[in-house]
């Protein structure tokens, strides 16, 4: 399983969109990293999210594959990830932060 943490603002993403995104993230992880996603969906409570000191509309999606990947592959995957996220949610690219890390050191 590939750990995947999604941090979203309260009320920003409908239950239907969440289900769609979970499905897409799982398919993305399986295709890109050969294993399904272990999704930790975290909602920032109302009035608890700030970006540049103002109420936040940003989401953070962070994935940690089990093996290192080269930077060209990482960039391609990050664009794909943020692309399907914005297409589903209607958020702009300025409102989504995608992270694909290298594995934790042993």
């Amino acid at each position: 399983m590939i750990p995947c943490t999604c941090i979203v603002q309260d009320g920003q993403i409908s239950a239907e969109s969440e289900a769609t995104l979970r499905s897409k993230l799982d398919a993305f992880s399986t295709k890109a990293f050969g294993s399904s996603a272990e999704i930790n969906w975290v909602t920032v409570p109302a009035a608890g999210g700030f970006t540049a000191s103002k109420p936040s509309t940003s989401s953070i999606v962070s994935i940690r594959p089990s093996a290192p990947i080269d930077q060209e592959t990482r960039a391609t995957l990050l664009h794909e990830l943020c692309g399907f996220w914005t297409a589903e949610t209607g958020q702009t690219l300025n409102e989504i932060v995608g992270v694909i890390s290298d594995p934790m050191p042993a």
Binding site: V44, G48, G49, R74, H79, L81, N94, G98, V99, S101
Partner: protein, 135 residues
């Protein structure tokens, strides 16, 4: 990025304190590192299982771009701990602040790989021209 995630005991940081602490987090991070405010996210949680409090009453975890010095990280931790203490009234010894380096090249924001620290001007001009004009 940076993302500052603050977990606290229920009620330890009230809703009036959160925007003040978020403003301080943004100001402190930008003052210490020179980064533009538009990059700074501050999210508040209560008793969140993804960020255990252990023996603290408030735990601020900052995922920041790699490349900051140990002195910068120490300033960030000290000043942000003081801000939480000031606005929420939590004793300093009950507030934990930790930062973790994240390579900029791991992060896509605004549809592009994040710039390295100190190389934000072009990125800002493209995605937030209003911020670039004031950077």
């Amino acid at each position: 990025m940076p993302l500052y995630s603050c977990n606290a005991l229920p009620g330890a940081i009230d809703d009036a304190a959160k925007p003040k602490i978020a403003a301080d987090i943004t100001r402190i991070h930008c003052d210490v590192t020179g980064a533009p405010p538009i990059f700074v996210h501050a999210f508040f949680f209560e008793d969140a299982p993804h960020q255990p409090l252990d023996d603290s009453k408030a735990f601020l975890f900052g995922s920041i771009r790699a490349g900051r010095t140990d002195d910068q990280k120490a300033q960030i931790a000290d000043q942000m701990r003081q801000s939480i203490h000031t606005h929420a009234g939590i004793p300093l010894e009950d507030i934990k602040v930790i930062t973790q380096d994240t390579p900029a090249k791991w992060v896509l924001e605004g549809g592009e790989i994040m710039p390295e620290p100190g190389e934000e001007a072009e990125w800002l001009a493209k995605h937030h021209p209003e911020a670039a004009a004031h950077a």
